[in-house]
Each structure stands twice: as C-alpha cells, then as structure tokens.
C-alpha cells in the first residue's frame, strides 16, 4: 500500500502542471460548495441568534405585502390600544417600527433609531447595566430610556455605567434606565431593531402624536393559543378597515420556517452546483488518467511481465486517481474554509454579531465524499483499462 502511494505521488509530482490543472476543477467545485455551506451556517446562526432575541410569545402585524395600495393600511396608536382590550388573549400591544433622531449625551451625539418597548419585554436580550422598564414607567409615560449596545457605544465611553445619565433628543430629555447586552438583532427589519428604547406610551406621546404606524407588535397571554390570537388580530384589523386592507402576521416560528425555506432552497442549489462540478472535474480526471495509462502502456507491460497481477496494476492506477482527487479536494477544502470563513467573519458576523462556528466536520465530510465519489466514478475505468492490457501488446507498444 505504502509503495503504491509513494509511486503515485512520484508520478503526480513528476507531472506537476498536469496534476495542478487536472485537480483545478475539483478545487473550484469543493471550494464553492464548502464556502457556500459555511456561509449558510453563518447566516442560519445569525438568523437563529436574531430569532433568539425575540420573545416567542410575540407576533407582528403588518399589511399583507401582496396588495398594491398601502395608503389605507396605516394604523393609529389608538387602534392598537383598543385591539389590546378587544381581542382575547393579548397581553400587550405596541406600535412597530422606529424613528431616527439626533441623540445627545454629554458632549457626544449620534443619529440613532428610537422605538417603543413595554415592561413586558418584546426583546429578550439581557441587561448589561441598570433595569428594564417598570409598569409604572409605561403607565406614566416616564422620561426613561433603554440603550441597545450600539446606542451605548455611540454615546458613552466603553465600560462606563450610564445609568442615570441624560439623553437629549431635540428639547426632550430621557434618563438612562438600563443598557442591553450585545444585540443579536442585526439583520432583522427595524420592527425589532432600535438603538434607544422608550416606554411605548412615551414613544407614542413624544413621536407618534397624530401620526399612524405601519404595523403593531403583540404579546399574548401565557395560556393563549398563538395561531388563534394571530387569526383574531388579523380579522380585527380587517374589519376595522372595512375589508379594504388585508393584514398578515409573523412570529418567531413562521419567520423561522420562512428562513428555513430559504436555506432549504440554498442547500438544493449548492447540491446542484456540487453535482455539476463533480461531474466536470471527474471527467477531467478520467481524461488525464486515460492519457496516463496510454503513456505508460509499456511500463504496464513491463510490470505485468515481471509478474504484477491485474489487481496490483488496478490498485496502482486507482490509488493514483484517488490521490489526484484527494489532492484537489484537500486544496478545495482549505480554500473553501478560508473563503467562507473570511466572508462569514467580515460580512455576516460584522452585521449580526453572531459568530456561528465553522462546520468542520461537515466540510471535511463534503471534501472526503467528493474525493471518494470522483475517484470511484472516474478513476475505476482507467485503472481497469490498465489492468486489462495484454502484456505482450503492451510490451511492444511504442
């Protein structure tokens, strides 16, 4: 075995340019598949992290995106408050969406998004400093604020405790009540996102007076049935708009299902790319192995005359094909992990803040699988051809 491997390596090393060019197809194929699945894992991790920060007893109501006219879809804050009272099973209802303002703290300032939040936290991210809103904050529409990690970084020296400090927005002042931990909300729409959270009553009074919003967010009561409440809510708002507007809801589960659907499609595309590149690369290896067998016909004749069996010749050429494809797959694995890891790190992690571990086992599994399948499917025939050569004819081949 050892000897076969050493001889095959010597042959591959002697034809360096040919070896590299032949394995290029596999390198590119394996690299693409591994990089894409690392990105997929990274994105799945990011989305999972985002979903993890949403309270799974909450859902969001927005106008159905398939209708053309949104002008009548806008919702007034009063309607949201009324829905909370009228629809059974709803514990809390707040306006969705945010608004961007210049926020000052001491001598620092930054343009940040403001959003409403209640004491029954919609966002489940933990607290780094201070406290969450109390029911009194909401009831009295207190001038308090919760900062997200981004907001905190924009306005305060890292490490300082900002609880009790003042935030100024225009001529309004809010006292910092707490700071959330590093968020996992990066790639979600701004229904969930916010740099500065205010009690939603405060938010409505200070920023939504006389205005309407695009959607609303609801928390359901612990014993309520989520789909039933969502259905009732959609019906409620549809009736409110006299059937002129259709609404839809999404929650953590349906959002996750949609994301899973996207990743399922992505996986299928990757599998197709993989299959195509596998066949193309395999034909390249088949071709070069047939050339190799033809070139070495005389050598095969010598080996057979000396007493090599068919099996021994077969093993020699099969191992050569196996090493050739293993080489391509190893390089592809390395480049794929490097590429996927880099894009993951500099794009997905940078945006979402969620670091998904590189799926090494799956990557190595893919590379090994490719090498094995290509060698078996495309290395067997040339090896068989070599093994079947007639020793007399092979010896006299020029």
């Amino acid at each position: 075995m050892n000897q076969y491997v050493r001889e095959a390596l010597a042959v591959l090393a002697a034809n360096r340019a040919r070896t590299l060019l032949t394995s290029l197809g596999l390198v590119i194929g394996v690299m693409a598949v591994i990089a894409i699945q690392i990105l997929g894992a990274g994105m799945a991790g990011a989305v999972g992290g985002v979903l993890g920060s949403i309270n799974d007893r909450s859902f969001t109501l927005i106008p159905n995106v398939r209708q053309g006219d949104f002008t009548r879809a806008q919702i007034r804050p009063n309607d949201i408050a009324r829905a909370k009272e009228r629809i059974a099973g709803i514990a809390e209802a707040i306006p969705a969406g945010g608004i961007t303002r210049l926020v000052r703290a001491g001598r620092r300032h930054s343009r940040l998004s403001l959003a409403g939040e209640s004491d029954q936290r919609f966002v489940t991210t933990g607290l780094r400093f201070g406290r969450a809103f109390s029911s009194e904050d909401v009831a009295t529409a207190a001038h308090v604020a919760l900062l997200s990690d981004d907001g905190y970084r924009a306005l305060f020296e890292p490490g300082t405790d900002p609880v009790g400090a003042s935030l100024r927005v225009g001529d309004r002042r809010y006292v910092v009540a707490g700071v959330l931990e590093r968020p996992k909300t990066g790639i979600l729409p701004n229904v969930v996102r916010g740099d500065v959270f205010l009690p939603y009553t405060t938010y409505e009074r200070d920023y939504l007076r006389g205005r309407t919003v695009f959607g609303a967010r609801f928390l359901i009561q612990p014993d309520a049935d989520m789909p039933a409440v969502e259905h009732a809510t959609v019906q409620y708002f549809r009736t409110l708009k006299k059937g002129h507007v259709e609404y839809q809801t999404f929650d953590r589960k349906s959002f996750g299902a949609a994301v899973d659907g996207i990743f399922g499609a992505l996986t299928l595309v990757v599998a197709l790319i993989g299959a195509v590149s596998l066949v193309v690369a395999g034909i390249g290896i088949l071709n070069i192995m047939l050339v190799s067998v033809a070139e070495r016909t005389r050598e095969i004749g010598i080996r057979k005359a000396i007493g090599a069996t068919r099996g021994q010749i077969l093993a020699q050429f099969f191992i050569e094909a196996l090493l050739l494809s293993a080489f391509g797959c190893a390089v592809g694995l390395f480049l794929g992990v490097a590429l996927g890891g880099a894009v993951n790190r500099f794009a997905i992690v940078a945006i979402s803040g969620v670091v998904a571990p590189i799926p090494w086992f799956r990557s190595i599994g893919i590379a090994t699988g490719f090498a094995t399948v290509v060698a078996l499917a495309f290395g067997t025939y040339p090896a068989y051809r070599a093994a079947s050569l007639d020793p007399i004819a092979a010896l006299h081949y020029e």
Partner: protein, 230 residues
C-alpha cells in the same frame, strides 16, 4: 537456490495459431523439446520463424493453442491470468532487448520491483536487490536512474531484476540487440558466469555470434524445429 524440478522446461507438440481477421496464422506448428535445469540454450531463427511466439509461450505471457508446456513441473496451459502472473513472478526472469527499466526509478528500486509484487517488506526487498546488483557488478550504482547508466549497465540492472526472485529459468530476448560488440561480450560473459553457477538460461537471438555462447542451439523455421544442436 531452492529446490527445482530436474527438467526446467518441457514442451510437447505445442502449436500456436493466431487469427488476424479471417486469416489463421500458424506461428508454431508443433514443437517439442525439453530443457534440463542448468542448461544454456539459444533459440535461433529468421524473423517469422515463430521464435518470438515461442518466447512469449515460454515466458508465460501467452498459452499454447494445443500441446503441453510444463515449466518447472507446472502445466502452464491450465492456468488463469492470475496464476500465470504468479508463475512469471516466482519462476521466470525476463531480460529484454530494450532493457525495459522503469525510467523514473533508481537501479535499486528497479531490481526490487518483483519483490514488491511478491509482497516482501521494503527492508528485505532492498537488501535482496542490493545483493543482486553486487552480483552483476553494479553495487555502486544502486541510486542511479536508468538514464544515468550506460546501455551495458542498464542491461546488467535488468539481469539483476530478472534474478532477484531466484527464478527457475532466465529468459533473454535478444539481450545484446541494443549493445555494441564489446558490451555484448561483457553481457555474454555475465551469462556464462551465471550458467556456471547453475542458472538455467534460454536466449532468443538471430545473431549467430551471440548464440555461439550457448551450449545448445535450437533452430526454428516456419514454426517448426529444424535443428537442435549441442
């Protein structure tokens, strides 16, 4: 040397017929002879006489159409490809006109190759190969590749390779065909030496000068033996 049958080669009424399209070519029309262990035999004949065909049969690269060929006591005609390979490995040593060494491989590795197919460990392969190279006077060229050796040296390496498995018969096909006359004489000297030490040698040649070195000459013409002289 391991135990051998007294009759190394026993050929009886052997014929070989090839089909080339619709035409049957009778390369051998019934030849019979026996070669005892320790003999040194030259097979001569003009081209087309069937000597290459006979060489392929004796070398177990091919099977007779009819007749019986026993090598070292084994009936070769009944063996399958795998068994033929084993016979070639264990009981035959080939020396070719064109040396037929592996180009990328050192002299030592070339000589050791049959032992690899026999399944010996690398250490034992190299020991035995080094010893054979010493015997043909090339102990100091073990690391050289074929293209770094002269024709005569390459043929010596090929002879060492043929002997490394301690075969019952050394088969040489025009062993001096690619060599100048002085180098040919050296190779013939080596053959004589090997034969003196008990090695059975069968050599095919069309060159009477070379065949003269053998102790017995079998002449072929048109697929039949026309003379068998000692």
């Amino acid at each position: 040397m391991s135990e051998r049958a007294l009759v190394a080669i026993d050929v009886r009424e052997v014929t070989k017929t090839y089909r080339m399209g619709d035409i049957e070519v009778h390369a051998l029309r019934g030849v019979s002879f026996a070669i005892e262990a320790g003999e040194y035999v030259a097979i001569m004949g003009p081209s087309g006489s069937g000597k290459s065909t006979l060489m392929n049969l004796l070398g177990c690269l091919d099977r007779p159409t009819t007749g019986i060929y026993r090598l070292d006591g084994t009936d070769v005609g009944t063996l399958d490809d795998g068994q033929l390979a084993k016979i070639r490995l264990r009981r035959l040593g080939f020396v070719f006109q064109g040396f037929n060494l592996l180009a990328r491989t050192s002299a030592l590795k070339n000589v050791a190759l049959p032992l690899f197919y026999a399944g010996l460990s690398p250490r034992r392969r190299e020991q035995a190969a080094a010893q054979r190279l010493d015997e043909v006077g090339l102990g100091d060229r073990a690391a050289h590749r074929p293209n770094e050796l002269s024709g005569g040296q390459q043929q010596r390496v090929a002879i060492a390779r043929a002997l490394v498995n301690d075969p019952a018969v050394l088969l040489a096909d025009e062993p001096t065909g690619n060599l100048d006359s002085q180098t040919s004489e050296e190779i013939m000297g080596l053959f004589r030496e090997l034969n003196a030490r008990g090695r059975t040698i069968v050599m095919v040649s069309h060159d009477a000068e070379i065949a003269r070195h053998a102790k017995r000459t079998i002449r072929l013409r048109d697929g039949l033996i026309v003379a068998d002289e000692r």
